[in-house]
Amino acid sequence: MEKSKRNKRYNAYVESVTPKTGTWHSLWNALWVGGLTCMIAQGIGDIYYALFPHLGKDLIVNFTSMTIIALAILFTGFGFFDVIARKGGAGSFLPITGFANAMASASMEFKTEGLIMGTSVKMFTVVGPVIVNGIVWSAVAGMINVLITGGI
């Protein structure tokens, strides 16, 4: 009893002296890094559209995403994606670039344990939760959709 009281008091004290992340500062950084990423992606998409107008909008969108993923992986390999991410926070990991970086960094990191036991096994250590939750919650959303609309 005495101990939990002491711990509570100590943790309240620690909370009061621990420096906080500046919310507005982080929001601003996330906004401009994320916004810039999306603007560059839009620019690449526009260039593709100007060069190959016969491909159609859907295909252009796919090609643009692939280009951005490739760029993110390339940046990870050269070792400056984490520098951008430290600044941008959610602005860098929420777009598709974050997913690419998480997979690429894990596969690079565990390359030393070999292609099977290292890269293949550990590739999804960071992005695993994203995939699992993506599948589970989209399934749940599909069920709700069926229940409400009758599957139309």
């Binding site: 002491r6 002296v17 992340t21 926070g89 565990f110």
Partner: protein
Amino acid sequence: MSFKTLHRGENCSFSPRQTTIAGKIPYTQRQTIIFDNPPHIIGRMSVVGTKEGKGPIGRYFHRVLDDDKMGEKTFENAEIKMLTSAIDGAVYNSGLRPSEIDLIISGDLLNQVTTSNYVARNYHVPYLGVYSACSTMTEALDLASTFISAGKFKNVLCSTASHFATAERTYRYPLEYGCQRPPYAQWTVTGAACTVLSANGNGPRITMGTVGKVVDFGTTDLNNMGAAMAPAAMDSMLALFKETGAEPCDFDLIITGDLGKLGSDILRDLMTEQGYYLGQRYIDCGNMMYDVSQNCYQGGSGAACSATIFNSFVLDKIFDGTYNRVAYFATGALMSTQSCYQGETIPCISHAVVIER
């Protein structure tokens, strides 16, 4: 806090040989060992990575690497090479032959103390692998001093290593993964350090050692190591001060391992609350390892953090006579990633040694 508590023990006359308090309390409650035959520090070596070499005390280190991978294929191998370099350098510095070393006590941060085990493979010397997170160095020094003081071994080698890249993999995320650290996080030091203790010699002596207790104040944040470890440092400091009757002003320097800026501020507060004013004579190795511009948040951490600074800067100053009596408290957080994800709090420990010229 009154003015009186701030100036407690201003007139100090303290010598460990005359202390009687430690002898009076029951043996089972005693944490502090006063060594009958204090071992001498006869050799030392510190090796650090590039980033540490650019820090405020970079010029004191014996060897600064220009490549954190040391030309090896993996960072684990680099850590092994780094520790080997530190051990070889310390043995050379001590003037002993490698065959004259009786025992190696070594530890590091990796699972199963891998680095130390693989390093010990290359020396045909009895070996003890120890793990006490970032307080490994003082645990090794305590053990070695006990062995030497009891006359069981003559020349004992204490060493430790940590590497930013391998520690990140063991405790956090892949290196290139873009994640944001909170402003109270710390940076694992890349480095290795080794001290050679001997029953004979003229170097500074280790006169006392305090074996820490595991202390847990209910902190759960894996990033806020300083706040988790500060109570452990306080516990060992109080044990040393109370059992020997010493005051902070009896020491020329009191150093803690890797509390960082936040943790060392918390420790100052905690000690003031207990009636001990640490003041200017207290420094924290994590706090002084990096420059503010190096973006390391609260400072350095890791087993090598305090070990490298102790073996370079602090011992330099003891050898040249700037400091005569130094208390060295290294602090360690004894959690694993599993225990933290399972919602457990972080238990911490702090071992201490007192070095006298």
